[in-house]
């Protein structure tokens, strides 16, 4: 079963590289991420598959918005592109093939040692609690890289906010790209939104039991705001308090994790271990949700300078 999807995966990658037009490129990228999510699932990693599905949906939205924004700027000059000589395709191709062959030869033949895996698998539910080993690891044993990953998220959000200029007054009333809101869409999305919220709470709440966790819940909550945008456009989105909130949540994450993990609070605090995991997941979820909402908002409200 796995080789079939891997072939499909390679095929979609080749298709994407050969595609010339930006419109189709974005669609094929969506297909590619979907197939790679299925491959993750087949490689026994449901957590990663779910994160990949949610995230690829989001990045496809960003691509489409970017295409719409820049397409209106780009004067379709379509100046005749110089005919690429046949040779100019071969040299890079040959170069990559040689590189690929070199790397493939370097794959270690024997399987990597698994003592670390057994170590983790045996001890994780005892020490960190919860059944989901993956969450236990990235929230318990490897708390450092989660901290810095959240910091990385914060920094890239700041970068997006900095790079995309827009003046607030100009963004007063802009319904989504001219498709007037036939109330069918409005009503259906209003019916759908609570379910979306419930799903994100479910993902965050038992991230330590079933696959799921802070990240997934956060991105689904961001999808809730995307739906809201579909109905209302950008009329009344106040973004600055979301920015501030994200910073505060990050601070709380740092304090909370430091207090718990480094000071080894497990030993003398009576609260059960699961609580720590859930709270951490919740904080991460809120942070990721704010982060993606800001990115989406900046993308939509990207005004001409």
């Amino acid at each position: 079963m796995i080789p079939v999807f891997l072939l499909l995966w390679i095929g979609s990658a080749v298709l994407l590289v050969r595609e010339k037009r930006a419109v189709r490129l974005i669609i094929i990228l969506g297909v590619y991420s979907l197939i790679s999510a299925v491959c993750f699932f087949l490689l026994a990693a449901p957590d990663i598959a779910m994160a990949e599905v949610v995230v690829s949906a989001f990045s496809t939205i960003l691509f489409i918005v970017c295409f719409e924004k820049y397409y209106s700027n780009v004067a379709p000059d379509r100046k005749p592109r110089r005919k690429a000589r046949a040779g100019s395709r071969l040299i890079p191709l040959a170069f990559t093939v040689i590189l690929a062959a070199a790397v493939i030869l370097l794959i270690p033949e024997q399987a990597p040692p698994t003592y670390l895996k057994d170590l983790y698998m045996s001890r994780f539910s005892g020490e960190i609690g919860g059944e989901n080993a993956v969450t236990a690891i990235y929230l318990g044993y490897r708390m450092y890289d989660t901290l810095f990953e959240a910091l990385m998220l914060l920094v890239s959000i700041v970068a997006v906010v900095h790079l995309s200029h827009h003046d607030d007054e100009a963004v007063s009333v802009e319904t989504p790209s001219g498709v007037s809101d036939s109330n069918i869409v409005g009503v259906t999305i209003r019916v759908l939104c609570p379910v979306l919220l419930l799903l994100s709470v479910y993902l965050v709440a038992n991230g330590h039991i079933s696959p799921g966790g802070g990240f997934h819940g956060g991105v689904v909550a961001a999808a809730f705001f995307v739906c809201r945008y579909m109905i209302y456009g950008i009329t009344d989105m106040r973004i600055n308090n979301v920015l501030v909130m994200e910073k505060i949540v990050y601070l709380v994450i740092v304090v909370f994790s430091v207090y718990f993990i480094i000071l080894g609070a497990h030993s003398y605090l009576p609260i059960p271990k699961g609580i720590f995991l859930t709270v951490m997941n919740l904080l991460l979820g809120i942070k990721v949700a704010c982060g993606f909402f800001i990115v989406f908002y900046r993308f939509i409200a990207f005004e001409r300078r």
């Binding site: 036939s182 109330n183 069918i184 009503v187 259906t188 999305i189 209003r190 019916v191 939104c193 609570p194 379910v195 919220l197 419930l198 799903l199 709470v201 479910y202 038992n206 809730f224 739906c227 809201r228 109905i231 209302y232």
Partner: protein
């Protein structure tokens, strides 16, 4: 709406204990309140839920019939028409359901819904004779709308 959401929560948690039910109830209540606050839903007239269930099963049957017909359309070839049809439904929720079910029933995709006219993209046999256009709305949404009318309180 809230009962539905608690049902969803129980199915998600895969454990039918009282605790999950209570937690589900609390969570769905605050979910609905939050989404109401963020996306205020215009007041919609009450709807008889039982009638909707019957409508749901009828819709499923209709979809399957439609699925088979559109396979025929795929094989035979088709002619695309844009048709306006009238509707008497007033309740916003029911109109949305009607429009969605028209889109679901193969052979037609709704394009627009103004006060009372629905513009529908309609796939017909090779030649769409004029009389066929007249009774288009009968064909498209006849029974569906009648059932929905009953569902209106």
């Amino acid at each position: 709406m809230i009962i539905l959401l608690t049902g969803v929560w129980i199915v998600l948690r895969e454990s039918l204990t009282v605790a999950t039910a209570v937690v589900g109830l609390v969570l769905s209540v605050c979910c609905v309140l939050l989404s109401r606050r963020l996306i205020p839903l215009a007041k919609t007239e009450p709807v008889k839920p039982l009638r909707l269930l019957v409508y749901l099963f009828y819709l499923l049957m209709q979809i399957y019939i439609g699925g088979l017909t559109s396979i025929a359309i795929v094989l035979l070839g088709s002619h695309v028409e844009i048709v306006e049809i009238k509707t008497q439904l007033r309740n916003r929720l029911l109109r949305a359901i009607l429009v969605n079910s028209i889109t679901l029933v193969p052979g037609s995709v709704t394009l627009d819904l103004t006060e009372d006219t629905i513009t529908v993209l309609w796939l017909t046999r090779k030649t769409a004779s004029s009389e066929e256009l007249e009774n288009a709305d009968e064909l498209l949404k006849g029974k569906l709308e009648r059932m929905l009318m009953k569902a209106q309180k």
